[in-house]
Amino acid sequence: MSDLIRLESLSKSFRGRPAVTDLSLTIPKGEIFGLLGHNGAGKSTTFGMMLGHVRPDAGEAFICGHSVQKDRAGALRRVGAIFETPSFYDYLSGWQNLRFFVSLSGDVSDARFREVVELVGLTERIHDPVTHYSHGMRQRLALAQALLPDPEFILLDEPTEGLDPAGIHEMRAMIRKLRDEHGLTVMLSSHLLSEVEQLCDRVAILDGGRLVFSGAWRSGPPRWKLSLDDQAAAGDVLDRYIAECDGDVVILREGIDIADLVSDLVHAGVRVKGVELLRATLEDFYLGRTRP
């Protein structure tokens, strides 16, 4: 897959304090990519530099091959963005807000307006003043304004912030739908690691403005927890099958099936009381890379 987003050695300091240092990463087309980090880790600054809101001290961000710093209009032509607290003109209706924001991108047909408003489920309330919208409705309106110019890439900064569980579920389903059915590339940041875990196979982790990890966080062999009644008797068998062992948690050698190990253990007279696949959580993965 070709890279839709390319960040090259981005750095930014505010009043001498580095916010982002030498950040480089790529996001292929059609991916849902997560950007993680503690508060102040540099996520918002990174998004700001990608949208041209923040001027980097060094480096360049490319979207669809256009440099944000040199050709902002070209780079943002097919980009939509949502921030954690979507801001609108509360005294205007949802429809008028959409009309205004979209007029800054170019022309969009009425049919496209209706299609997007329906997609985000705001058809009934789109002509109400935004001041009467709930937080969830504002998020959906924000999504509509991001989708209207028919983007290839959307950037979601804390898209589930402040949403109730139903709203979070709805937003998650919407993000998946945008990738699966509309082919969009999505970059999102969230403090809800369980959400990122469900949506993103690849993440980047920032710590103190530096990139500490970028890639597939689930990569690596599966880990198994074995409950055996006689660990000593199992020794010979385990030596043949496992690559790593940490107490009762093991990692099998490449190409080995857990069923073969269990079968050989039973043949060796070892009672296997339990076999459990330990699923890696993004939280463990994240904390493992950001804890001091």
Binding site: S44, G74, L76, S87, Q96, F100, L104, S105
Partner: protein, 286 residues
Amino acid sequence: MTSEEITLFRKQLGGELRKLFARKRTYIGFGAFLALEVVVLFLLRLPKAKAAIRHLIDGAGYDPGDYFSGLTLGLMIMSWTVFLLGALYLALVGGDVVSKEVEDGTMRMMLCRPISRGRILLLKAVACAVYSVALTFFITVTALLAGFLYGGFGGLFAFYPAEHVFALYDFWPGLWRYLLAIPLLGLSLFTVSCIAFLFSCMKMKPAAATIITLSVLFLDSVVRNIPFFTSYQGWFFTARMATWIHVFDYAIPWGKMVEDYVLLGAMNITLLVIGWMIFEQRDFKS
């Protein structure tokens, strides 16, 4: 510029104006002016105030019955209300125009679009100009209507000692001068919008932009009225802004007025350009 670009610019400007004129706050100025006009009209109807004006006209050798009219009252109401509130409301709207959007977060939403910062500011500057014109037109027309309602038709008596204006006109020449004063007053008041616009482009709260604008106006106005600085009137922009009143001179000093408006125009363009340069350099973060 292609026709599509012009159409798009018109759409964007329409959106900017809709934002401005759909806000209740925008109309506070209109409402306040209307209320103040009523108050001024009431004060001018007080017997002693009326007698003082009639005495002035009488002293100049004219019949007060002919010149204590709707036109005279309209001009008085208009000039007093503009002096008292004009700067305040233009500074309020001009001070809000960029900084309020930054504060509310809508500026970040706008900047997510493939539109240059310069174009966003251009739209806002044009919207400010439209507001200045609309407010000026509203003040002058409502003042005139209020004057006519109470004073009826008659000649115009213009008396502004600070600007050395003392003139009396029959109804039609007076009305013509009054109408000519409207766009000139609008041009003068646009300077207030430009000062507020400059501060609005800086990293500060909307209220701060408004207060600083008013402080600058106040300072300029106070200092220029200190007797020691009488010979330096040309250095004070509020003196240039007051040039519109000379449209009521018997012989309109066109040369001086053109010079004043060229200087004000240059100052306004400079303020807008500095505001744009500051805005271009700013970082916008949550």
